[in-house]
Symmetry: C2
Subunit: 248 residues, 2 copies
């Protein structure tokens, strides 16, 4: 979606290291935004994005328009697997349908052998993995690690919405995930207790959509900690909704 940061650039580097040709798409996809969300104010610093991508030596940038992606009469969608129903699927009901639909379109237009997705949007990655598997899309989905700023905040295009003060508050999110990991390392197996630790860490956030331990395959909550597991947080600082996660 553009507004590129080091997290995005790490995907381009990974693609270049693994593939002969690297194509980057920049498209602020309207179908994954709800009417009350930040589609119109989502940052679009295109010139700067293109300079960053030129610096990485990517081979092509695909910049479709809304009208070319969703012409009048558009009406077929890819429905995500049940992995999309929990968490973000609860908070943003049509969000993943927009994501799977646009990723399917992009992979048909640019038939890549591999596509690179950040683990920061963990549930999105799982939904796309399921789509590619279920619909036999001949593209390898390559998960790439979360890139964090020096202070620990996961990089996100939405971080630029944060004031200095809000940014300090937002650091509670990676701290909550670290504490969850520490609790697991100390032998905690009651996920309700782990979630309580996260919620306490997040008390300065303006709201918490979820702070949970889930099966990292199904994204379903679990009572007793068991791997594969992931802790996931969605919280709001001011008007900015932030996501983060940590595999446990």
């Amino acid at each position: 979606m553009g507004a590129l940061h080091e997290g995005h650039l790490s995907l381009a580097r990974q693609a270049k290291s693994q593939c002969d040709v690297c194509v980057v798409s920049i498209f602020v996809n309207p179908t994954q935004f709800a009417p009350n969300e930040d589609l119109s104010r989502y940052p679009r610093p295109l010139q700067h994005d293109l300079e960053l991508l030129a610096g990485e030596g990517v081979d092509a940038v695909f910049l479709p328009t809304n009208a070319s992606m969703y012409p009048a009469g558009f009406g077929s969608f890819v429905m995500p697997s049940p992995v999309g129903l929990s968490l973000e699927g609860q908070s943003r009901p049509d969000h993943f349908r927009g994501v799977t639909t646009v990723v399917m379109k992009l992979l048909q237009i640019v038939p890549a052998s591999a596509a690179f997705f950040g683990q920061k949007d963990f549930q999105q990655l799982r939904v796309i993995q399921d789509m590619v598997r279920d619909l036999n899309v001949p593209t390898e989905i390559v998960p790439c690690p979360i890139v964090r700023d020096e202070d620990g905040l996961a990089m996100s295009s939405r971080n630029r919405y944060l004031s200095d003060e809000q940014r300090v508050t937002a650091l509670a999110i990676p701290r909550a995930l670290s504490r969850a990991a520490a609790a697991v390392a100390a032998g905690e197996i009651n996920t309700a207790a782990i979630e309580q630790i996260m919620l306490e860490s997040l008390s300065d956030c303006d709201s918490v959509d979820y702070a949970v331990v889930a099966d990292s395959e199904s994204l379903q909550p679990m009572r007793k900690f068991e791997r594969p597991a992931v802790a996931l947080i969605a919280a709001r600082v001011g008007n900015t909704r932030l996501l983060d996660n940590r595999v446990l």
Copy 2:
């Protein structure tokens, strides 16, 4: 779906005339059957089908299994465009979702430059055309004309369910379509009157799901006849549900 007849073979011939390599898929797709439908008794004369295809000189036959197409955990679907909501979509609510999903899978597995579909399943063709357009599938969808037996009945794998007597009754269906076309040729522009002519022709059928004049793009009913238009019928003779249509 196999149980091949001259209609299917005409698709193979058209493909061979237009393409370098012709692949035929045979797969009785479970996701397009409702629980009360004829999935288990759908005819599967595989050996005979393969002989017919060998006779046409097709290059390959793709025969996937249910387990390979729908392994445990399968859960991502392609939702058809609103063209799928009327007519068959009313009579068979999840049918087109099964069709679009399996056709998407087949086109990912066998990335054909062109795919050939009979106009006998007119609404299915429209739904697939919309899917390919909306999701940017790089395959040309080629509509092929309905093939009829000498008595006028549109060829269908389900015709073999009909007794001799039922078959005579079923001829009311192409007759109804011919009368609709004759009414249009005579200047009738009231579609309700055209539909009444079709319903009267179908009075010997055991039930009629629909007998309508619709916009052939949107598949929506129209009051005043206007091209592009198509007359579509779904009617039951005994337990056998038969489809037919005629572009007007």
